[in-house]
Symmetry: C2
Subunit: 420 residues, 2 copies
């Protein structure tokens, strides 16, 4: 049996005051810029998509570096087609072929033409491409059936990207096509912001490691694997996931390991075994503790040296909800992602009244059936399987008493494939 905490009775009395969700978000918004100076690292192009560019990229080359044919057809001197039509076929002589990557060795004279493929370098002497559709040919003889002006169907040097052009700015989240553009200017790697390192601490002497069959009065850790999946979804790199004994010095040592964001599951409330809030208050900053929301009310936000710390309730639904409201937002911000909820949204009609308490934000799991959504009648934040049975959730803001039956509400979808 553990020794009793001297102030156990006082500390078990619940939260005296709860912050609002707005206050917690506003503290987070003010704290985040101080954590945004993550170091730069080089990444090979193959891993660059979705990473945050760490410096401006200017092109050292023209793309393309050569004048090229933009149609399949014949490179020639435009003047040679002057007056050509189907009624006035003008004859030229085919003097060669020119393929992409294979320049024509000679030069195109006045009555000459070189067969070109799209993307091939335009042969010297030519100034236009007559599309194959406007020609007829037989052996080395070509007839122009139409006119082209100089420059027609010819791509110029640097028309995609000009030498010296500012292509992408620092802070840009790289898209697949940006990676293509970087490749086209010859970059094999790019400087990117290191993703936020996330450390996951799981407290609770009842916990068995994830993937262990529960036995006796012990339960298998569910929050660890769930938080790993959430943090990776949001662009973080999980550097650690460990079960820490309910012991002040063990928890403090774990809190101090290298990370940019620390997620602590369990021990976040005001009970006698809830060491984390006091440790954070003593050694760092416990900025927010207790939030007017359901579930996730017994959670906290703060920092320890250069780490953002999120105290998440051990109850798994609270853990999920608290993560998504605050921790996920922070990880996404540090990873350069959108701050918006990472769920597709749709509207649906409530099948029954949804009651909420003014002054508290509610996170209500719902089940969808066509255009209708039904709030799941579950109060317990310990029932993780409710988030598996639910199709999504509805947020009821603090200033609302809820919604009447048949009201239209916004549903955030857990499963991106719903609605597809």
């Amino acid at each position: 049996m553990k020794p009793q905490h001297p102030n156990a009775d006082v500390r078990m009395q619940g939260f005296a005051v709860r912050s609002t969700v707005e206050e917690a978000l506003s503290w987070l918004a003010s704290a985040l810029p101080q954590f945004k100076n993550l170091p730069t690292e080089a990444t090979p192009l193959a891993d660059a998509a979705r990473r945050v560019l760490a410096s401006d990229v200017t092109s050292p080359v023209n793309v393309p570096q050569f004048v090229r044919a933009m149609m399949d057809g014949f490179a020639l001197q435009a003047a040679a087609t002057h007056g050509a039509s189907t009624y006035n076929r003008l004859e030229l002589r085919i003097v060669g072929d020119c393929f992409p990557g294979q320049p024509f060795a000679g030069s195109v004279g006045a009555g000459e033409a070189v067969r070109v493929m799209t993307g091939a370098p335009l042969p010297g002497g030519a100034d236009a491409v007559l599309p194959v559709e406007s020609t007829e040919c037989e052996g080395q003889q070509l007839w122009a059936l139409g006119e082209v002006p100089p420059g027609k169907h010819v791509g110029t040097v640097g028309e995609d990207i000009a030498l010296g052009e500012l292509l992408l700015c620092s802070g840009r989240v790289l898209r697949p096509q940006d990676v293509g553009v970087l490749s086209s200017i010859g970059r094999a790697e790019v400087p990117v912001v290191r993703p936020p390192r996330v450390s996951i601490l799981l407290t609770g002497n009842e916990l068995l490691p994830a993937g262990t069959e529960p036995t006796g009065c012990h339960i298998a850790d569910a929050n660890g694997p769930m938080l790993v999946a959430l943090a990776e979804r949001d662009g973080g790199v999980v550097v650690r996931q460990q079960i820490v004994p309910d012991d002040r010095s063990a928890i403090l040592a774990a809190l101090r390991e290298e990370a940019d964001v620390v997620l602590v599951s369990g021990g976040s409330s005001v009970g006698q075994e809830d060491h984390v809030p006091t440790l954070l208050a003593e050694h760092g900053e416990l900025a927010i503790h207790g939030i007017a929301m359901r579930p996730s009310s017994p959670m906290g936000l703060g920092r320890l040296d250069d780490r953002l710390v999120f105290l998440l309730p051990g109850n798994p639904v609270s853990c999920l909800c608290g993560y998504d409201f605050f921790a996920g937002r922070a990880i996404r911000a540090l990873a350069g992602r959108s701050l918006a909820w990472p769920y597709r949204q749709r509207t649906a009609v409530l099948t029954r009244k949804l009651v909420s308490t003014v002054g508290r934000v509610d996170y209500v799991r719902v089940k969808l059936a066509r255009d209708q959504c039904e709030p799941l009648a579950i109060s317990g934040s310990s029932i993780l399987s409710s988030t598996t049975r639910a199709d999504g959730f509805v947020i009821v803001p603090a200033d609302s008493e809820g919604h009447p039956a048949a009201a239209e509400v916004d549903v955030f979808l857990y499963d991106e494939s719903i609605g597809a």
Copy 2:
């Protein structure tokens, strides 16, 4: 210089007939089910999120397996609180503490109470938890200031997950919370569908490997790294990315390497160096060749044995557009993802008229400024940097002549953080 293809002139005449986008999508929809039988593999829980579950999961255990306290407070016999109030404090004796994972060794008698933390196993003899808020205590003396009925604040065996319960069905795309639930029933790994293996073939003798500085009439491959990023975004695993010489036997050998989906960039049209369509027609099925859309018109869809094959134009904008319309859709389907475009959407007002041709689907890159969107005046599908300068795109359907200025249109956003 390469030998000329015997039918070069005929084959350079352009597409005789183009399929509609609907026809191409409809062929894809009919073909996809035949490619959906991807084999099953086991994945550790840590990598299970977003994977497709390959068999039903039934729980082999109750979660929790024990009766537990759901509040911080005192476990006792409910009858002992009968009639208790702040005016009628009933005295009990504290006989111990009980923490999560640490059962109380004894049994709770009539006038006794055991201090419990949320999640602790309920001590024998007790049938309710009196919340700490309804008590006062001093040393081993406890006063009940309120009543609780039997069962109050007590969590029952299997209340989260019952033994034998069907938890998750085969085909489910696993969410972070599903991974948590699987962990809580003791699963260390789960059977999942192997993700689609994507092979990327880049044709074109003008191509230098990605990340090489362009030189002379050669260009650095941009489509390879872009397609890798796109395929991985959509849940595919890229097993190969190679530049293949413009040579029939080399291309055929590369087409036949192991893969579920083959993306071929370049050589997709009807020019004399466009070997891939004829190879596919001869050795497999070229179901669709030439589509009434802009860009990406010279593209094809088909199959070779047990591979879905997408012939994408070498022009990078066409490659991106053709990928997103057809190939990405197929990869997402095989990976169990949503078929919807993987871009956030918003509405915006056109700054100027957008002209389109009836009978052709247009993919128009646009730039956003607040609520307004401006079509980029770029015709060339060779200008990849246009997709970097654009904020997103608008799709103009085949039955539309376009939109007048000031019309409201749906914009698909390239960058998920726009609109956040």
